[in-house]
Symmetry: D2
Subunit: 171 residues, 4 copies
């Protein structure tokens, strides 16, 4: 079995229609390229991304906070119930080769931080701003381009020296 | 997406050729029925079961103790690296609708106990003996029959009153 | 700060008065020797052991399945809410230098197995029988004697070659 | 046993002498008030805070990423080895009644975000800036004042409506 490439898409469980649409477009491009989508399995950004990915024929993993597989959104191919609550955020990060944050609240911020701590590439799209080490994209196509770069090389690792709190961040 | 049915096959990472063969036969029957195999993703019983399942065209999940997807055996379709060590045993249990223990050591015993604690049906095949609540099978075909029963009804739940330590267990 | 010695006492959340009394006697001897008690923080055996230990002036840790510190029994000095459910069983094991199982059901069996898997000494008192590698004691004083041995040397590690499923176990 | 009050102090494992000193002053005031310190148990800010707290006679919990109690800094009264790596960050958050972030990098940011997600009060001192919902203090005495407020009432919960990504944050 060839080891699959896992793209984590993180974002909150409720979002605007426009954010949902961006997540769906992003998911579609992920599925089209044969990459596997990893997400938290619930609604909002997670559902948008899973929907797009499955519409392109891609596989979608939903690492769920609860114990019931059926709490996954309908576009999840492989639901993983954990019963760990927000503890599943770390599992989303640990599974992913690269992560894209789309909008999002505190849960998403925790995943961005955990991913950067683990030296994983993090791409930001309409999300928490000016976090050192995050590679910001202007739209989903640029995010896809950055995912491709990060899978093919090491250039997308968080910038060294970016871990301090001296730099500015913002939304 | 129809919620998939997850059959956990638990057993140790090293085993005899004969046990490997039983695990493979069991896995094949699981895959043939369209069920998804969940296991710990490593060698031995886990590999045998995953191999059989994938040979029948089934999907195989490997919930790994380490952080590297590539530590999965070659028959795992969906590797899930957790970095939780034996903490992943609980995730194997929580993901599974029903579990089959094949031979196995202490890790397997911990999973059987956690599954029984969570009121999940546990089927035993050449494994730790006389544990109250476990449904013992004589061969892989009887195990498959018991899996089918457990998925279709409630009759396979651990027997009530079986949780005490008064009954005899053994190997 | 001198590193404290942690004695895990595992057993179920409901028990007979006689088992509670054994746990309390055991806990008292633990506290008297300046050892710290680690347990799951709830009722039954956990409460009996914590009560005895605190009555002897000892410190008691309760690693709780839930999110609320106040779910600990009243004899817990240091409650640790985890929100991990049975996932906290592994933390009880990982914290303990040596474990004593007192009676107990499936949860206790899972902890015994996880401890043996992690090569920690396990002492059994009126609990799951004939598990290879467990050092069985006839009463709480013998258990205390075995704890002392295990803290002072390596002689109490699980017996090598004990991990298979060939040996008999029972209750 | 009266339920103890747990003050989480989060910050990175390496820090400047001046940040260490702030953490130590903060820890001292925590210990003086009879509160228990919860931290990640390692060096840097965690050690500074534990040192101050223990110097004031307070109890200090160190929830460790590794499996060895002896990896705790020398001022930890109660080391808790977890073996969960950054997964222990969530346990620090879940144990704490209120958290103070002192300087810190990505790990600290993940804990701030997880705490805000869990609706726990978060106080910021020389740390990640402009995160909605964080109560920023100018010095350790103001932080202590805010801790006191948060323990005595509900006024310190994260501000409602603060979870979105519309507000500005920065360092």
């Amino acid at each position: 079995m060839k080891t699959p490439q896992y793209i984590g898409v993180i974002g909150s469980g409720t979002c605007t229609a426009s954010t949902y649409s961006v997540a769906r477009d992003l998911g579609f491009e992920i599925g089209k390229r044969g990459w596997t989508l990893v997400c938290g399995g619930l609604k909002g950004v997670m559902e948008g991304a899973a929907r797009g990915c499955s519409e392109a024929g891609g596989m979608t993993l939903g690492i769920l906070p609860g114990l019931d597989k059926r709490s996954a959104n309908p576009y999840i191919t492989v639901p993983i119930p954990t019963g760990l609550g927000d503890g599943r955020n770390l599992l989303v990060v640990r599974s992913s080769d690269v992560l894209v944050a789309v909008a999002g609240g505190y849960g998403t911020l925790s995943e961005m931080a955990l991913a950067l701590k683990a030296d994983k590439p993090v791409i930001g799209l309409k999300t928490w701003k000016e976090i050192p080490g995050v590679h910001y994209a202007d739209d989903y196509l640029e995010a896809i381009h950055l995912i491709g770069l990060s899978l093919s090389s090491k250039v997308m690792k968080p910038q060294k020296g970016a871990k301090g709190t001296k730099n500015k961040i913002g939304i």
